[in-house]
């Protein structure tokens, strides 16, 4: 245990060495509330909220697409094209059937029909299943064209139009099927299943049938199947219903601050977008990352080092044989110029924003070229801020303070984006776009009361690729 202190300095120094007191709760509460940007300033939270907004936008768009139910029409058209292509080949190979052709020819045609039907498997599994059933029937009665024709005549299934088209070229033979009734029953069942499960298939196959009729030089009559109900007239849906596009873009941008010409900064952004297009109108959203930077200075406040001296902080007296000798206790004291100096060192702050736009617009497509105009709100959320440390070699000088002269940026800023652009089709599903863009900010990107600029604007050129479906 300490028995006492020789001087008052030691008493105070030692007794206060580990002195601590728990401050009351309200102090931290006040500190917390006074720190700018605390709480929501956390980049994780900002990123999370941005992600939620972006995801919600995408889900809303996806919901819209589902609700519009345009995908079915697109599929049917695709099927029709596939089937037509295949059938065209079939017709060209059977354009001049010989009367009384042998069973071998029939088998060949049926085999080819198999190929044709298999080609549609990628699109509609159920249709293929149905056709396979029919083809199994056909195979089982190979060489019996009467049976086959009857089967096809009774079937009003649109899936069987293809078979009808092909089988109409198969010459009659005298052979009979042993299981004709059973086969008919099976075919009826197949028809039912097909009609109920694939309503969209009817239209496509009717179109196939019509196409074949035109291509076969009248060898196939439209009333070939009297029992078939009149086929609805096919109308192209191209450009009428909506379609979806995905975009990937890069945008260099320059931002202007009208009331402060010292502040102009450049930024770059990369974004992915989802565009829903219906009757020429556009609805676009997505998520982008913008990289911006501010050039500025650190203001370094320092005092110049002048030298040192030995300061006598205590004198004690030793009694020696020769008398009392003073002992001077000294410490080295560094001396600095009392005048503070200021120097500026350049620095560059870097910022990363998450951008989420919701844009509306209108556009028109031509054969290769398209044009469009868009506009709408966009939110930018600061998700990362990089501030390099000061690059100043103080040497022996005493640095009193560093101050980054660049104003702090706000965490969230809304802007309105307007753009007009053109697209060029590189292929069936891919286009390249060039889109001059103007962004009008709701408020300055910087903290209030730091920079007086209001409503900055930016100009950029958005270039990218569009993938259509």
């Amino acid at each position: 245990m300490n028995q006492g202190y020789k001087n008052i300095d030691d008493l105070f120094r030692n007794e206060f060495k580990d002195f601590e007191l728990d401050p009351p709760e309200h102090v931290w509460e006040n500190v917390k509330n006074s720190i700018p940007g605390s709480g929501t300033n956390n980049s994780f939270y900002r990123f999370r909220y941005g992600g939620i907004i972006g995801l919600s936008s995408i889900l809303i768009l996806a919901g819209l697409f589902s609700f519009m139910d345009f995908s079915k029409t697109t599929d049917v058209n695709t099927n029709a094209v596939t089937l037509n292509s295949a059938i065209e080949v079939t017709n060209s190979q059977v354009q001049e059937p010989e009367t009384g052709a042998s069973d071998r020819e029939n088998v060949a045609i049926v085999d080819f029909t198999n190929d044709v039907l298999e080609s549609s498997e990628e699109v509609q599994t159920q249709t293929v299943e149905t056709n396979k059933n029919i083809l199994e029937i056909e195979n089982s009665i190979s060489g019996n064209s009467d049976t086959e024709n009857n089967l096809i005549t009774k079937n009003t299934s649109p899936a069987n139009d293809l078979n009808a088209t092909v089988s109409s070229f198969i010459p009659d033979t005298d052979s009979e099927s042993e299981n004709e009734d059973n086969l008919l029953a099976m075919a009826d069942g197949t028809e039912h299943m097909l009609v109920t499960s694939l309503p969209g298939t009817h239209e496509s196959n009717v179109k196939s049938s019509e196409f074949n009729e035109n291509q076969s030089d009248g060898s196939v009559e439209n009333d070939m199947n009297p029992s078939e109900p009149s086929a609805p007239e096919f109308k192209s849906d191209y450009g009428k219903k909506g379609n979806i596009m995905l975009g990937l873009s890069f945008t260099p941008e320059i931002t202007f601050f009208p009331s402060d010409n010292k502040l102009t900064n450049q930024s770059y952004s990369v974004d992915g977008s989802v565009i829903y297009k219906f009757s020429g109108y556009l609805l676009q959203s997505g998520v982008g990352v913008q990289f911006a930077s501010d050039d500025g200075n650190y203001k370094v406040d320092y005092q110049k080092f002048l030298g040192t001296y030995e300061d006598v902080y205590n004198v004690t007296f030793d009694t020696t044989a020769s008398g009392v000798v003073p002992v001077y206790h000294t410490q080295t004291v560094e001396v600095y110029d009392s005048i503070s100096r200021v120097t500026l060192t350049p620095t560059k702050n870097k910022y990363t924003y998450l951008q989420i736009p919701i844009l509306f617009g209108y556009g028109e497509d031509y054969k290769r070229i398209s044009w469009f105009v868009k506009g709408g709100p966009s939110v930018a959320i600061l998700i990362n801020e990089g501030q390099p440390s000061v690059n100043f070699d103080s040497g022996n000088n005493r640095v009193l303070n560093y101050e980054n002269e660049l104003p702090a940026r706000i965490n969230t800023n809304w802007s309105f984006v307007f753009s007009a652009g053109v697209g060029y089709k590189l292929g069936n599903h891919i286009s390249i776009t060039l889109e001059p863009t103007m962004r009008f900010y709701m408020k300055s990107a910087y903290e209030r009361n730091v920079v007086t600029t209001k409503h900055p604007y930016s100009l950029g050129i958005r270039t990218g690729l569009l993938f259509g479906f």
Binding site: N2, Q3, G4, Y5, K6, N7, I8, D9, D10, L11, F12, R13, E15, F16, F19, E20, L21, D22, P23, P24, V27, W28, N30, V31, K32, S34, I35, P36, G37, S38, G39, N41, N42, S43, D311, Y313, V333, S338, E385, Q387, S389, V390, N401, Y402, E403, N404
Partner: protein
């Protein structure tokens, strides 16, 4: 236990959790520092609050070359001195008549005293004197530096220190905490 470096990095990024950790780690010690400079707990809390706001506002300027605790402490001391200069009217009347001839006596021993008692004694000092005592004894500044910091002359700093020490010794004597060697032995 998370190190200071990670806490500082977190604070530089504005992470609330890091700010809370930093506060919890250093606030108790810094309140002790503030109490030494201030005349009561309310003032000390105000200074602590203002000091920590400065810490968080300027933490991005902290370079990890020196002691982080020293950096915070310096901010607290500066804040306390500024606070006192701004809010407190100096009054030296009750100590002005004390002669500035204080010298440690060799045969004197100071008994250990609890910090709470010492705080009370310190707080009974006029603000200006308390500043000099704090800067000299606890922060280790020389008189020239104290003179610059407080905006007084070097000789004033010396005389105030001498008077303040005498004042403190008188207070300790009142509490029977000062013993002469003969008393202590006897």
């Amino acid at each position: 236990m998370i190190g200071d470096d990670k806490i500082i990095e977190g604070c530089k990024k504005g992470k609330k959790r890091s700010q809370n950790r930093l506060y919890e780690k250093y606030a108790p010690g810094m309140l002790g520092v503030c109490l030494r400079y201030c005349s009561n707990m309310t003032e000390a809390e105000d200074v602590l609050q203002e000091g920590f706001i400065k810490v968080f506002m300027h933490i991005r300027n902290f370079r990890s070359e020196g002691s982080f605790e020293g950096w915070i402490r310096r901010i607290m001391v500066n804040t306390a001195i500024t606070y006192i200069k701004k809010n407190v009217k100096y009054s030296y009347e009750d100590i002005d008549n004390i002669p500035a001839d204080y010298q440690e006596e060799e045969d004197v021993v100071y008994s250990p005293v609890s910090p709470e008692v010492l705080i009370k004694i310190l707080q009974s000092l006029p603000d200006g004197y308390r500043n000099v005592i704090n800067l000299y004894i606890f922060e280790g500044y020389a008189h020239k530096e104290i003179a610059e910091i407080l905006g007084i002359s070097e000789s004033t700093s010396k005389s105030q220190l001498s008077k303040a020490k005498k004042f403190l010794r008188n207070k300790l004597e009142e509490k029977n905490k000062v013993l002469t060697t003969s008393t202590a032995n006897g």
